[in-house]
Symmetry: C2
Subunit: 323 residues, 2 copies
C-alpha cells in the first residue's frame, strides 16, 4: 500500500465558507462530518476560530467564529475524524481558546503571510501548550522570495509546530514548483510533517497534491466537490479515490455531493472559471476576479485580461487576507 502515511484534511466548510459567507446549515455540517468519517477522512476543518471582536462579519454564518458549545450541538458524537479550525494572525483572541481536553478541536492551524511567521510561531507555542496539534500554513508562497522563505523556515524548524503547509493561494504553481518547495521544506524542516493546500485555478489542484505526495508531503487539504474560494480546492472525492489506503471509501462522499453539493453549486459559484484561471496564470490573488464575477461584466474576459495585463490599468496586487 503506497501513501499509507498520508492524512486528508477536508476544509469544505472553512474554505467553502469563503464562497458562501459560511452559510452552511447545521444539518449539512453534521452530515458532512459523519460522511467524512465514513469515508475515512482523518480531519475535518469545521471553520475559523477567529474572534468576532477582532473582525467584521456579523452577517457571516457560525462557522466563521466557532463556538465550543455550538460545536457540541453540531457534532454530538465524535468519531475518529478529528476536528480542526483555522485562525488568522491578529484576528484570534488567544483567551477564546480552551485547553484541548475541554475542546471539540484537536488541531489549530495558523494561516500567515511570510512577514508574520514570528507571530504565527507565538500562537503555535500558546496552542501547543494548551495541548493542541498545530500547523503553520504559509500562504501565497508564489509571492515569497527565496531568502525570506529560508529565514522563515529556519525559525519554524525551532518551533514546536507539528505540520508546516505549502499553500498555493493563487493556484499558480505547477508540479515542478511543488516538488521544488517540498524539497526545500524537507531540507530545512527535517523534523516536521509537511502539508499542502492547493487551488484549482489552472486545473492543477489535484495533480499538485499528487506531486506533493510524491515528494513526501503527508497532510493533504481538500474539499468535497472542490468547494473553496474562487477556483476551489483539490476535490476530496478524488484524493480518497487515488490514495490506495483501505481505510478510504469514496461512496459516502458521492452521497454528500448528490444530496448537497449540486444544489450548493447552483446557488454559489466556485471552480474552473475563466477570470480565476487568469489570476492563476498571472500569479495574482483572485480578489479582482471575484469582484468581476459579482458584477454585470462577469463574462467580459478579454476586457478583464487586458486590464490585468496593461501596466497602466492593472489592479494593485496587494496582500490577501485569506488563503
Amino acid at each position: 500500500m503506497k501513501n499509507a502515511n498520508c492524512k486528508i484534511l477536508d476544509c469544505t466548510v472553512r474554505d467553502g465558507g469563503l464562497v458562501n459567507n459560511w452559510d452552511f446549515s447545521v444539518d449539512f455540517v453534521r452530515e458532512l462530518y459523519y460522511g467524512l468519517s465514513e469515508a475515512g477522512v482523518e480531519y475535518m476543518e469545521v471553520g475559523y476560530k477567529n474572534s468576532p471582536k477582532l473582525l467584521k462579519g456579523a452577517d457571516a454564518g457560525p462557522w466563521r467564529f466557532l463556538d465550543e458549545a455550538f460545536l457540541r450541538e453540531v457534532i454530538p458524537n465524535k468519531t475518529d475524524t478529528k476536528l480542526s479550525a483555522l485562525v488568522d494572525i491578529g484576528r484570534v483572541d488567544e483567551n477564546d481558546i480552551l485547553p484541548r481536553e475541554q475542546s471539540m478541536l484537536d488541531l489549530i492551524r495558523v494561516a500567515c503571510y511570510i512577514k508574520d511567521v514570528d507571530k504565527a510561531i507565538e500562537l503555535v507555542r500558546k496552542f501547543n501548550s494548551l495541548g493542541y496539534e498545530t500547523s503553520i500554513n504559509i500562504m501565497a508562497l508564489s509571492h515569497v522570495i527565496e531568502t525570506d522563505l529560508s529565514e522563515a523556515l529556519q525559525e519554524i524548524a525551532a518551533s514546536p509546530v507539528d505540520v508546516v503547509y505549502i499553500v498555493d493561494s493563487y493556484g499558480s504553481l505547477d508540479s515542478k514548483d511543488i516538488s521544488y518547495l517540498t524539497t526545500k521544506f524537507s531540507r530545512l524542516l527535517p523534523e516536521k510533517t509537511l502539508g499542502i493546500h492547493t487551488h484549482n485555478n489552472m486545473q492543477l489542484a489535484f495533480s499538485n497534491t499528487i506531486a506533493g505526495i510524491e515528494s513526501g508531503v503527508t497532510f493533504l487539504d481538500s474539499s468535497v466537490f472542490g468547494m473553496g474560494r474562487a477556483a476551489g480546492n483539490c476535490p476530496t472525492e478524488l484524493l480518497v479515490s487515488y490514495l490506495k489506503n483501505p481505510r478510504y471509501e469514496v461512496r459516502p462522499l458521492l452521497g454528500i455531493i448528490e444530496k448537497h453539493m449540486i444544489k450548493m453549486r447552483e446557488k454559489w459559484e466556485w471552480g474552473y472559471i475563466i477570470p480565476y484561471m487568469i489570476t492563476g496564470l498571472l500569479n495574482e490573488h483572485p480578489r479582482t476576479a471575484m469582484a468581476l464575477r459579482s458584477s454585470a461584466d462577469s463574462d467580459k474576459y478579454v476586457e478583464y485580461y487586458d486590464r490585468l495585463t496593461t501596466p497602466e490599468t492593472a489592479f494593485g496586487a496587494g496582500a490577501a487576507k485569506s488563503e
Copy 2:
C-alpha cells in the same frame, strides 16, 4: 524557451462534436479557426472524415462527414494553422480522400483500437501516398496489455506514420502512467513524433499533458474550454498559457470562450461531472455515465456507483466506438 518543439492540435470541433452531435454553426467554426490562428495554435481538427455511407448519423452536423467544397466555404483564407481530420477504422471510404494538394486538409489522423493497428497502418500508407501528414491514435490504452502494445508499436515503427498518439480515452491515467507510456513509446518508436490526447474525468487532463511534455511528447491535443466528450479534454487556453513559446497568445481564446463557449456550456454538458469521475476512476468507457446524464437519474451518483462496482449488476464494459 522551453517546449519550443511542441505543437498544439485543437480538437474542439471534432471531440466537442461528440457532445453536441456536431451542431456547430459555420460562423462558430470559422471564428474558432481564426481565433486559434491568432493564438498561434498549429493545427485545428475540424471534424471527422468518415463516410456517411459507412456510418449512421444523418442527423449529425457537417463536421462529422467533412466535405472539401464545404470546408472551402467555411475557411476561405487558410492561415499558418493547418487543418486535420480524424477517421475511424471501417468508417472511412478511402476514395473520399483527395490528394493533399487538392485538399483543405494537411493531416489525417487514424483512430484505432489496438486490435486494428494493422488496418490503421494500411490507411496511413494510403494517406501518406496522397501527400498527407498522418497520425495513429491508439485509443483506450488503459485497457491494453503490455505484450499487445509492444507488438503494435513495433509494427507502427516500420510504417510511414509521422505521429503516434497516447490516448487516455477513459481519463483514468495519472502522470506516472503517462511517463511510463511515453518512455515505452519513445523506446519502440525512436523515429516517430509522439502525441498525447487526454480526458479530464479526474481533473488530470492538463497535468497529464504536462507530464507528456516532460517525457518528450510534442503533439498536444486540447480543446477550447475543454469541450470534448464526457469530462472533456485538456483546455487549449491552459496549454497556450503554460507553454513558454512567444508564438502563443491566450487572449484570442478568451474572446472565443466569452463569445461562444459559455453559452454552449449552458446548452450542452461536458467537464468534471461525478458520473464521469466515477468511470475515470474505474477505468471504464463513459458511455454508461453519458446514458445516466441523459436520464431522469442524472444525479443519482451512489446508485450508479453501486451498479458499476457490484459484480452482478455492473454494466458490460465492451469496446468503445470513439475516443
